[in-house]
């Protein structure tokens, strides 16, 4: 199955946030800590992307620690899909 687009990933991220009663910000510069989007939320999002594409996305913690904004989340998942 082909890689998910940035917009599709953004929609999935909104679903992860919505499940916790949180709203997806309009700006990609929004800070994850302020948003309450934690590393396990990123894990959940990555696993949802995997389910959709049928491909595992393996990554280590240093990569994860770099992620600070919504844009970083989208960039990282795009990179992982392309790897």
């Amino acid at each position: 199955m082909s890689a998910l687009s940035r917009d599709q990933i953004r929609t999935m991220m909104a679903e992860v946030l919505a499940a916790q009663g949180k709203e997806m910000p309009a700006e990609d510069t929004a800070n994850l800590e302020e948003l309450g989007f934690r590393s396990l939320d990123f894990s959940e999002l990555a696993l949802r992307v995997e389910d959709e594409t049928g491909e595992e996305l393996n990554f280590d913690a240093p990569g994860l620690r770099q992620i600070q904004t919504v844009a970083d989340v989208l960039d990282f998942l795009e990179q992982l899909q392309a790897a």
Partner: protein
């Protein structure tokens, strides 16, 4: 009385992963103590080569991947030919981990288990067979980790291997009754290539939370390994945790 005499100090010590970090510090200390060392790693560093050049009759070094079991056996054979009968092993070589379990591939999990658990057990077997075949006695030290006793995220497979080694250590201590002393040293985090993934902030937090007020250094661990290799303490089947009290 049926008491056995104490097992003597080590005279020829195999050190896995002796090229840098704690392993190199252990190699240096064993040499300072006057014993002989057979050390290997995948890459021989200039520091290890320097020791070999300075003590050609007491040091054998080779580039060996601990997961290449044929090469491992050949190394043990070469070590005995060059240095004499092996009577001690420090199982120090290992690879670290910094990834959540759910995001590791099965292959990555298997690789960590191979290097940190399966191969140390294979190496231990090889050394014990040499000791037993000639009716000798000896000592084995496993370098494990405080991760085997406490949970640290990002270290699931790594912790499993260290816990596995601690368990094997206890069973070996019983199985090798009267012939081999087997113990573990379990360090807390210390600065090395393995822990270089930790950021300054994490290192500071570890130091702050350590009851002794400072992080562990290889220099703290070396004397404990030295004791297990050379002294008559009757320590056997024990995990000695060296972490400044972090895990209490």
């Amino acid at each position: 009385m049926s008491d056995l005499p104490p097992i003597g100090p080590a005279s020829v010590v195999v050190v896995s992963g002796g090229s840098r970090g704690l392993g190199l510090a252990i190699v240096t200390d064993v040499l300072d103590r006057g014993a002989k060392v057979a050390a290997f790693a995948r890459t021989i560093t200039p520091e290890l080569q320097q020791l070999a050049d300075a003590h050609p009759d007491r040091v054998l070094v080779a580039s060996v991947d601990v997961n290449d079991h044929k090469a491992l056996t050949a190394f043990i054979k070469d070590a005995e030919a060059a240095l004499g009968p092996i009577d001690a092993l420090v199982n120090n070589a290992a690879v670290g981990q910094d990834a959540m379990h759910i995001h590791m591939s099965p292959q990555q999990i298997g690789d960590i288990i191979a290097t940190n658990l399966t191969s140390p057990l294979v190496l231990t077997r090889a050394v014990l067979r040499r000791i037993m075949a000639r009716g000798g006695r000896g000592r084995v030290v496993m370098v494990t980790s405080v991760c085997a006793q406490r949970g640290y995220s990002g270290l699931v497979a790594y912790s499993a291997t260290k816990g596995g080694l601690d368990s094997a250590m206890r069973t070996l201590a019983r199985e090798m009754h009267g012939r081999v002393l087997v113990n573990s040293v379990a360090p807390g985090f210390f600065a090395s290539e393995m822990s270089s993934v930790l950021g300054d902030q994490q290192l500071e937090t570890i130091a702050r939370r350590t009851p002794s007020g400072r992080m562990v250094e290889p220099d703290n661990i070396v004397p404990v390994v030295r004791t297990l290799l050379f002294e008559d303490t009757n320590l056997n089947g024990q995990v000695i945790t060296i972490d400044g009290g972090s895990s209490i």
